[in-house]
């Protein structure tokens, strides 16, 4: 199985998003690099709106992810509630 990944800017918003990703993807690895945070996982990774909202304590639109996103790897599937990354092997 190959790794999917997501990199976010290391900023105030993204820290909550990373917390949410960590909670929803217990198998993921979080790597801190200068100015950015890389999150990777084997095969599948999901960002859930509900969990992010819970961490931030406010409404959060899935598409706000674009403001902090640096890069990603994997096939993207997004709707109003979540964004997932996966590989088809």
């Amino acid at each position: 199985m190959s790794k999917v990944y997501l990199a976010l800017q290391d900023n105030d918003e993204a820290r909550y998003i990373v917390e949410a990703i960590e909670e929803d993807n217990p198998e993921s690895t979080i790597i801190h690099q200068p100015a950015m945070i890389r999150i990777e996982a084997e095969g599948y990774l999901v960002v859930k709106r509900e969990t992010v909202e819970e961490k931030m304590g406010r409404d959060w639109d899935m598409q706000e992810l674009h403001l902090s996103l640096i890069t990603l790897g994997g096939n993207v599937d997004e709707d109003d509630d979540q964004l997932s990354l996966s590989w088809n092997e």
Binding site: K3, Q9, A35, M36, Q63, I70, G73, E78
Partner: protein
């Protein structure tokens, strides 16, 4: 409750999928009195077969209202930081004045290509019969325009304090090493719309731009350059969308018709090779031009190509797509190319629009550690020799103009990979003229479309033909390239940049 609020609430009832579908499906129309082929005249000549445009899907399902909203927010954040950078004399906080030379190469080498990407996407966006593709290209075209603007703004601050930034737009079309990225984009833009999309959207954006933006911008952060980090990551936030689009494009083309598979594979092979050659400049920036280093070029290649690209090509295997041709060769090249490139720039440092230098002893040790297989054996001895010459007051500059590869336009600096002391030369005769190449990859590309590449504008040929002023190199540099000779070029040691820095910092 005001009227606007009502509208927003009503709009909220539509899901992302519904909104995207309304934008991309219902915006098109049937051609009743015109032939569809006349409306989209470039859609067929490349041999790509599209049976159903409605299968085009943007996974982010970005609609125009959301696009403007989020892009505006990105811009506000970016310009607030650029203002803060300028107001607080951010240029004084960079790790070392040598660092600024990486930014000179970025502004002169990469930023003008953002503008070419903008023009390219604006052009091809018009050529597709499907609305989804047209909208995606429109957004990307606007993104690329934003990138060039933010980069020029960010770097205008450096232009007030450092040499070498003043004539970037003039330099783009003329300077010997800048013709490498410029000709890369000219090649893509003069191809058909589908090849352009595979070249830039997939091969460049998906497979390779991570290597340009991510480790390099992280490096900018590590070197105290807030302005570059900010425009870099702001641009990169668009790249995540571009990359996703690039991958969707490939899947779309491969799913539309099996006849598309060999055409797409050929383009992937070509543009992967063109891209890796172009990224030699980035490898050199990472290993030699960043005083505080984040990761080596080799490490970046392993993470962002071998690992990420490996996963990607496994995913595409179900369509019959294989790893790009020469990927195995490139795996060997990661040990060598950054060293070969910086040596070439160092020895041609009188003809570059930025400063070059010998790595410090600490940096040489870092390179030895990061490249245990190759650095001490092949490259460190050269730098030890350069140090000795410099100490004797004989800093080395070559007198010769380099021979260029007809395809990638990089000087012939790459070696055979199984013999790193032998420069690789390939050549071919076409219509009675001999053409030279740095590699089998570049020769293959020429052979596939010789009529295209015989027209290459090769800077060294042009100088020797008298088309760039002269007669001497110095006049070419000053009158044709618009360098401030003696300030922009030559070694970092003794440069006006270095003198000013020492004054600002109060050191002798």
């Amino acid at each position: 409750m005001n009227k606007n609020k009502v509208t927003t609430m009503a709009a909220k009832k539509l899901s992302l999928k519904e909104k995207y579908s309304l934008l991309t499906r219902d915006l098109d129309w049937e051609f009743s009195y015109q032939d569809r082929k006349d409306a989209f005249p470039m859609e067929e000549f490349e041999g790509i077969k599209i049976t159903d445009w409605s299968k085009w899907e943007d996974p982010f399902r970005l609609t125009m209202d959301a696009y403007w909203k989020y892009q505006a927010e990105k811009e506000k954040k970016l310009y607030a930081i650029l203002d803060a950078f300028a107001q607080n004399n951010g240029h004084l906080n960079v790790s070392d004045p040598r660092y600024v030379n990486a930014i000179k190469l970025f502004l002169t080498g990469i930023s003008p290509q953002e503008y070419q990407a903008h023009q390219g996407f604006a052009h091809i966006g018009r050529q597709y019969g499907g609305v989804g593709a047209r909208i995606a290209c429109q957004m990307q075209s606007i993104d690329e325009l934003r990138h060039v603007q933010t980069q020029v703004h960010a770097m205008s601050q450096f232009n007030k304090y450092f040499d070498g930034f003043q004539s970037w737009s003039n330099m783009q079309d003329r300077v010997w090493y800048l013709s490498v990225p410029t000709s890369f984009f000219h090649d893509a833009r003069s191809a058909g719309p589908f090849e352009f999309l595979v070249a830039i959207g997939f091969s460049f954006e998906y497979v390779l731009t991570n290597l340009l933006f991510v480790p390099f911008m992280s490096g900018a952060a590590y070197n105290g350059d807030m302005a570059t980090v900010t425009f870099g990551f702001s641009a990169q936030s668009d790249e995540a969308r571009h990359m996703t689009l690039g991958l969707e494009v490939i899947k779309f083309l491969l799913e539309q018709h099996e006849d598309n598979v060999p055409i797409v594979q050929k383009w992937i092979d070509k543009w992967f090779w063109r891209g890796t050659r172009l990224l030699t400049l980035v490898g050199m920036m990472m290993d030699y031009m960043l005083p505080n280093k984040v990761m080596s070029w080799k490490e970046a290649w392993e993470v962002y190509f071998e690992e990420a690209g490996g996963a990607l090509f496994k995913d595409l295997a179900r369509y019959g797509i294989t790893m790009p041709k020469y990927a195995a060769l490139v795996e060997k090249e990661k040990e060598h190319i950054s060293h070969q490139a910086w040596w070439t720039f160092y020895t041609h440092g009188h003809a570059t629009g930025f400063h070059t230098w010998i790595p410090t002893d600490e940096e040489l040790d870092w390179l030895s550690e990061k490249y245990p297989e190759t650095f001490d054996k092949y490259y460190r001895p050269r730098w030890e020799m350069a140090k000795k010459l410099e100490a004797e007051g004989k800093r080395f500059y070559t007198k010769a103009l380099p021979q260029l590869c007809t395809t990638c336009q990089i000087p012939m600096l790459f070696t055979e990979m199984d013999d790193p002391t032998q420069i690789a030369y390939r050549d071919t005769v076409y219509n009675g003229d001999r053409y030279h190449f740095c590699s089998d990859g570049c020769k293959d590309i020429f052979h596939d479309e010789p009529e295209k590449y015989v027209q290459s504008w090769l800077p060294v040929h042009q100088i020797l033909q008298g088309n760039c002023g002269g007669p001497g190199v110095e006049q070419v540099l000053s009158d044709y390239y618009h360098f401030n000779v003696g300030a922009d070029n030559m070694d970092m040691k003794g440069s006006p940049d270095e003198k000013r820095w020492k004054q600002w910092k109060g050191v002798a």
